[in-house]
């Protein structure tokens, strides 16, 4: 993690969700840099550039056209270069199946998109300020899903 700011990346095909996400960070006024990709293909293309700057935290929507969040997650976990990226699943559904799949494939946290903007802000600030090392070492299926 760089000293001056936290680099946050979101891949989500939903325009409204992208808007909420960027607005939330704007209002939070934290030391962050936010980049947005509109689907999994765009995201992976950007990451796979050899000179790309890797994000500290990657927010992945699951239900995306062409390349789903789960596929992106698998590709990232297969690549040693990306091993330091903390991956937060950011999805509308919180079905047992999705939670299980992403946990098994090495995601760090699972966030169910909230239905209230203030809750969103709180979640994002919690996630950015989270001590990832501490969280990852004690990660299990019960604390994988972020609860408010």
């Amino acid at each position: 993690m760089r000293e001056d700011y936290t680099y946050v990346v979101l891949a989500d095909d939903d325009e409204d969700d992208r808007l909420f996400f960027t607005e939330a960070f704007e209002e939070l006024k934290m030391k962050t840099k936010v980049d947005i990709y509109k689907d999994g293909v765009d995201l992976m293309n950007a990451l796979n550039q050899s000179d790309s700057v890797l994000p500290n935290i990657l927010f992945l929507d699951l239900n995306m056209p062409m390349k789903s969040g789960l596929e992106c997650l698998k590709e990232i976990k297969d690549n040693q270069r990306f091993k330091d990226i903390a991956i937060a699943i950011y999805s509308t559904s919180a079905s047992e199946e999705d939670i299980e799949d992403t946990f098994v494939n090495g995601a760090n946290i699972y966030i169910k998109k909230p239905n209230n903007f203030n809750n969103l802000k709180k979640i994002l600030s919690d996630v950015v300020t989270m001590n990832w090392q501490y969280h990852t070492s004690g990660l299990n299926k019960d604390n994988f899903l972020l609860r408010l």
């Binding site: 939903d14 409204d16 969700d17 909420f20 239900n63 509308t92 559904s93 079905s95 998109k113 909230p114 239905n115 209230n116 903007f117 203030n118 969103l120």
Partner: protein, 596 residues
């Protein structure tokens, strides 16, 4: 039982026949013996009479000679001497015959020898007197003494003959005495034997008639069996056939013809005629199986189709087993069943299953739509409302604020509806999910989830200790959660809710409205509250989906919570009932079967 007695009576009959045969043989033998004895004694009598006659002849020949001689002496006429020549040869013949007749009797032989000497002497004297008479020396003393001597010897001959006659009579008497004992007992003995034989025959007749009666009963039974077999063949659509292995001939039952769509016994029961009905596609398979049957003298389950003359295709199933009868003949008893209906039903079930599978898939995709696609726009609506409230509050008129509030509560209701529906559709049964669970812990977890509202309402919840059961844990937790939150939701205004959870066991007979169950005893968990209650007439209605007894403005609720409870209890093969009176609280009772 009957058959056994039949077998034993067969042995009895064999013994009786053996005995009868033996007795008849013995009787025959004895009769033969008796007749032989009778004829022997007859012969004996005849023999004695012959001896008598010969002796008489001998005597009369001597007398003839004597009287001839005397007549010659008196008349001196030589014609009186003619019989003398005859009587001499007669005497010889008689003696020879006597010798032969008494050849087995040494006493008589001796007598005959003596008699012969006497006769010879007599004849000698006779010759002498005759010579003297011819030479006219009748008056000479020599003649007179010879004549006297002749009379003496004649007398001794007569005595001897009398002796012999007496002896012969004595012999006859002895023999008669000897045989009379056996002969006099014989008719009596034969009569007894006859009576016994008749008795045995009577006994045999009784036994045979008894056996015949049993056989008749058996025959009637067989006739009944045959009739019921014919009926069951028709009812269960099967036919029987017999293959006589040695003669390679077949017998088909009437119904086998009917299965083929033909009149009973309307064609020769041969293999060729039967195979002619085989479906062209199954012909090779059937022929191969029949050949195997001929080879192995056994027919495992086979399946094939036939085509009736009117073109109807039928599915047949056949099976056969070799039976060896009491004469050692091998018969293959076969059964052929028309399973067309079964196959049709199976096909129908398969189609239904496919349809169900399709429906389930549709339901699953509906679930996904509900969980994801419906939630997404709703979530955005809610988020935008929160944005409006935060950022645009100042720009809204009072009406606008009211409208925003209404949109907010409607979308919140929409969310709880979607969540509850999802909960309902996810409450499915899966056998693997059953595990031995501590019900008390599940109850505590449910209470923990409701901690906030419990403390808000200052509710008091007490519970019995509940034994562990084999359940789907998360569903039972959900059941408690829904029942308790239901009690909390419908509590009376200004009255702190008191919820009592109690445990007992109930026998199936005491369970209301349950007619049949494979379980005898039920765990009984009841949740009693002091809430607003309801009219008892709605006790069943409240468990149906979306049914609500109150306006949604008065009490929040989607009408799904209790339906989920019912579904959970159904999944556990249990029952749920409700009892209530308005303003006096309600009691929900859950019955779960006690397994093992």
């Amino acid at each position: 039982m009957l058959l056994k007695s039949l077998y034993s009576s067969e042995r009895f009959l064999k013994i009786i026949f053996g005995l009868s045969l033996f007795i008849v043989l013995v009787m025959g033998g004895m009769s033969y013996q008796l007749i032989r004895k009778l004829s022997k004694s007859f012969e004996d009598v005849q023999h004695t009479y012959q001896v008598h006659i010969e002796l008489e002849k001998l005597l009369s020949a001597l007398k003839d000679a004597e009287s001839g001689k005397r007549a010659f002496i008196i008349s001196n006429d030589s014609t009186f001497l003619e019989p003398l020549l005859n009587s001499e040869s007669e005497l010889e013949g008689s003696l020879e015959r006597l010798k032969f007749l008494t050849k087995n009797n040494p006493e008589q032989q001796k007598n005959i020898a003596e008699l012969k000497i006497k006769i010879d002497k007599n004849l000698e004297i006779f010759e002498k007197t005759l010579d003297l008479a011819q030479s006219n020396k009748i008056d000479s003393p020599e003649f007179i003494s010879s004549f006297k001597e002749g009379r003496q010897t004649m007398n001794s001959v007569r005595f001897k003959i009398m002796d012999m006659t007496t002896h012969e009579n004595q012999e006859l008497g002895l023999r008669k005495e000897k045989s009379s004992k056996t002969l006099s007992n014989a008719p009596m003995f034969l009569y007894y034997v006859l009576i016994i034989s008749l008795l045995i025959l009577l006994l045999t007749y009784l036994q045979i008639s008894k056996n015949l009666k049993i056989l008749k009963e058996k025959n009637e039974l067989l006739e009944t069996f045959k009739e019921s077999t014919t009926q069951s063949e028709i009812i269960s659509k099967h036919g029987n056939w017999i293959w006589h292995v040695e003669d390679n001939t077949f017998e088909f039952s009437d119904n086998l013809y009917r299965l083929l769509g033909e009149e009973p016994q309307s064609f020769e029961p041969t293999l060729e005629n039967f195979i002619a009905f085989a479906h062209p596609d199954d012909l090779d398979k059937l022929t191969e199986q029949v050949n195997k049957m001929m080879e192995n003298e056994d027919l495992p389950f086979i399946h094939y189709r036939i085509v009736q003359k009117n073109g109807t295709i039928k599915h047949f199933k056949a099976y056969g087993k070799v039976l060896i009868d009491s004469d050692g003949h091998r018969k293959l008893l076969g059964t052929t069943a028309d399973i067309t209906d079964e196959i049709e039903n199976y096909r129908l079930i398969e189609e239904r299953n496919l349809e169900l599978e399709r429906n389930n898939k549709e339901l699953a995709s509906f679930n996904y739509v509900a969980s994801h696609d419906l939630q997404e726009p709703l979530r955005k609506i809610q988020t935008f409302i929160s944005r409006l409230e935060d950022k645009e509050q100042a720009n809204l008129s009072d009406n606008g604020k009211v409208y925003i509030g209404r949109i907010k509560s409607s979308s919140a209701r929409m969310r709880s509806l979607i969540d509850d529906l999802l909960q309902f559709s996810r409450t499915n049964k899966s056998e693997e999910a059953f595990e031995d669970s501590n019900i008390n812990i599940l109850l505590e977890t449910a209470k923990h989830d409701l901690a906030e509202i419990i403390s808000d309402k200052r509710a008091r919840i007490s519970s019995d200790s509940i034994p562990s059961m084999k359940v789907i844990p998360f569903q039972i937790k959900q059941l408690f959660l829904n029942l308790i939150s239901n009690s909390l939701k419908y509590s009376r205004e200004n009255v702190a809710p008191v919820i009592t959870i109690s445990y007992s066991q109930t026998h199936i007979d005491d369970l209301p409205k349950v007619k049949y169950s494979k379980h005898n005893r039920y765990h009984t968990i009841s949740v009693k509250d002091n809430g607003i209650g309801f009219e008892q007439e709605y006790a069943e209605q409240i468990f149906t989906l979306f049914s609500r007894l109150h306006n949604k403005n008065e009490y929040s609720g989607t009408g799904i919570g209790l339906s989920i409870c019912k579904k959970i209890v159904d999944n556990h093969h249990g029952y749920i009932t409700a009892e209530s009176k308005p303003n006096q609280g309600s009691t929900f009772t859950v019955y779960l079967p006690i397994t093992n």
